[in-house]
């Protein structure tokens, strides 16, 4: 991109172009952000209840992606049908890993839990690689696009966007209006108090872990509706890192904080790209990533409970 430091007319033209681009990018960012946020809710839920950071987070997203892939390629069904299956599968995986491993590590130091969740992630990657190979796969769900002038959005992305919002809403209602949900919330806020009130904390742990994983796997399907290519066993790593930033943005222990954190993150990522692109001699994408980690550190320093939670 040429430097905007040139004559007047040109500057106006550039402004228009840049303005359009920024808006377009921001819009895309919001949509992608909701999916990212959705993907991070599971991470925050697990941390909130069990105080464990699931470093293998990305691997579960990968599992969801493969669900969508297989559904489309072998059964010819569009990924929306894969959503409930992914959720169910995630729940089973969550219960499996909880009872086989996580349960014994509840009071263990970070060293153990971080490494354990990481290894679970690696195990998933290797198993998937064994079954499906390391090929980069994808599927092509042909849907129409919406042309907004600023930018073009295919319907699949809109479905992903709406899906994320609906699911987040459903979770919100569940957390606040149902007994089970309230029980989970109470454990997050004050475990001892919850126990005293008769909440079965042990089974809440199991349930929350399973739910967290289920949401994560589900979000993998939604993610492929946004990016249906490049699916391979090792795709999770980048998403784990993004999820950390988003989770911190929204408050590590707050699932709906994570959702809005994702939105903000999407805005920052795409918005900052256009700005960085104006600086000559740099790689704007890498700087965008750098910027997101700077924000991560600032928030951890200044407001670790996240900018979106009530103090």
């Amino acid at each position: 991109m040429k430097s905007p430091l040139r004559g007047g007319c040109f500057l106006k033209g550039m402004h228009g172009m840049i303005g359009n681009q920024i808006l377009g990018n921001l819009l895309q960012g919001v949509i992608l952000g909701t999916v990212y946020g959705m993907a991070t809710m599971g991470l925050s839920l697990i941390f909130g209840v069990l105080k464990v950071v699931n470093v293998g987070h990305g691997a579960f997203i990968m599992v969801g992606a493969y669900c969508a892939l297989l559904f489309f390629n072998s059964l010819g069904l569009n990924p929306i049908f894969a959503l409930p299956v992914a959720f169910f599968l995630g729940g089973i995986l969550g219960l499996f890993f909880y009872y086989s491993a996580m349960q014994r590590l509840l009071k263990a130091p970070e060293l153990s839990t971080l490494l354990a969740t990481f290894s679970i992630g690696v195990l998933l990657e290797e198993v998937v690689k064994l079954i499906f190979g390391s090929e980069f796969r994808g599927y092509n769900w042909m849907v129409d696009k919406v042309d907004l002038g600023l930018t073009i959005i295919p319907y699949s992305k809109i479905y992903a966007f709406l899906g994320s919002i609906l699911i987040a809403l459903a979770l919100y209602i569940w957390f606040n209006k149902t007994r089970a949900g309230s029980a989970v919330r109470s454990v997050v806020e004050d475990e001892e108090g919850a126990r005293v009130c008769g909440v079965n904390v042990r089974s809440t742990y199991a349930f929350s872990f399973a739910l967290g994983i289920a949401i994560t796997v589900l979000s993998g399907v939604l993610l492929t509706m946004f990016i249906p290519v490049g699916i391979n066993p090792y795709m999770g790593g980048g998403y784990t890192l993004k999820a950390f930033v988003i989770a911190v943005l929204g408050g590590l222990a707050s699932p709906y904080g994570a959702f809005f954190g994702g939105l903000v993150f999407g805005l920052i990522e795409n918005g900052s790209y256009t700005i960085f692109a104006l600086i000559p001699g740099v790689e704007p994408f890498a700087l965008t990533r750098f910027f997101s980690f700077v924000i991560l550190l600032l928030i951890l320093l200044l407001r670790p409970e996240g900018i979106l939670s009530k103090r």
């Binding site: 930018t151 959005i153 795709m235 980048g238």
Partner: protein, 424 residues
Amino acid sequence: MKRANLLMVGVLALFLILGSVSISYAISKIVIGHPACLSGKYAKAGEQAIGGIKACINWVNDVYGGVKLNGKKVPLEYKYYDCESKKEVVTSLTGRLITVDRVNVVFAPYSSGLTLRGAPIAESHKMLYMDHGGANDKIFAQGFRYVVQTIGPASRYHEGTLDMIHKIDPSAKRVALAYEDSEFAKRVMEGAEKHAKALGFKIVFKRTYPKGVTDLTPLLSALKATRPDFILGGGHFEDGQLFTRQMADLDINVKALSLIASATLPAFYEALTVLAEGVMGPSHWEYGVKYSKAEAQKLGLPWIGPSQDEFVSLFKKAVGKDMIPDYHAAEAGAQVLAYIMAVERANSVDLDKVRAELGKLKFMSFYGGWDIDDTGLQVGHSMVDVQWQGGKRIIVWPEEAQTGKLYYPMPTFKEKAQGKKAIP
């Protein structure tokens, strides 16, 4: 009596000396060592390379009869381990291959970085180190004496594409460059930029994206605004798929799109289906190239190795699956052929002699031409440009290697979604 005894001792000693000398020359097998990438980020390329090497080794042993050495035919053996695509494992495994397994030559692991990692070990042990997967030119500016390249250098990847468009559509002047920000892709970009400028193209967009990017929309939106005629780009495997997919999402239509590394692999079409129609990519080798014994004779080059179809069937047998080999397999296999040709010409497995022969060697195989310069850089092999037409890969450039005509300009994504195929 004493003198007779002395004579006998002398004759015995002579026999012993001659005998031990000839024993040390009686090599019973030649071993190729390879710290391969069976797992980790280069697993796919590693699997292909191993298949290609096995295919050619089997050809040498079963069809060719073995390597002609000192009047005997010696079989080839293959010893490989998994370096997990990690550099510290590369050094320990390379060391093991050289000192414990005592191989005669080491094939480098895939990728320029890992190739560089094993090079100092091979150099210090005076072991021949053959590079089939590291295209970074800088490897050969480091002063290594025993590193020899079979893969073509990165800087030349997109030269053919530019030549092709320059010839077919002189009015297409605006080119956008969008590559992955990694040492290999940057080399390609530099080479492309230089060649484009030399041919009179106008570079309207030049950007890179990081490895492992998950969303290219901001970059592509900016690219769209510059209205290029065609786009050159790419990096490794997953980014090519993402790039094309998101171009489709944003309805960015250009006359031609050429992506390195991923666009010519079967997985590309599987993932993108009709959206991949008309997309091109440079490749070291593609099934269908016209290299054959007759071609070689025309050019006055010696020919060795299996024919293309023989290679494919040997490959399938070697990997045990019905998988078409891609260029990773072909370049690794060609390396085997280069090595045995040099050994036969040197009539020895001695490092310096073989290396000298490799320097003089010029030949053709199913993979194409082979010729290295003084630093070990590959200069005899040309890339081909491949285009997806009707779900098949057709070689469209250079004209001598064509298996079909170029389809130009590329159909728009809308047309592709409606089923238009890029069949001329």
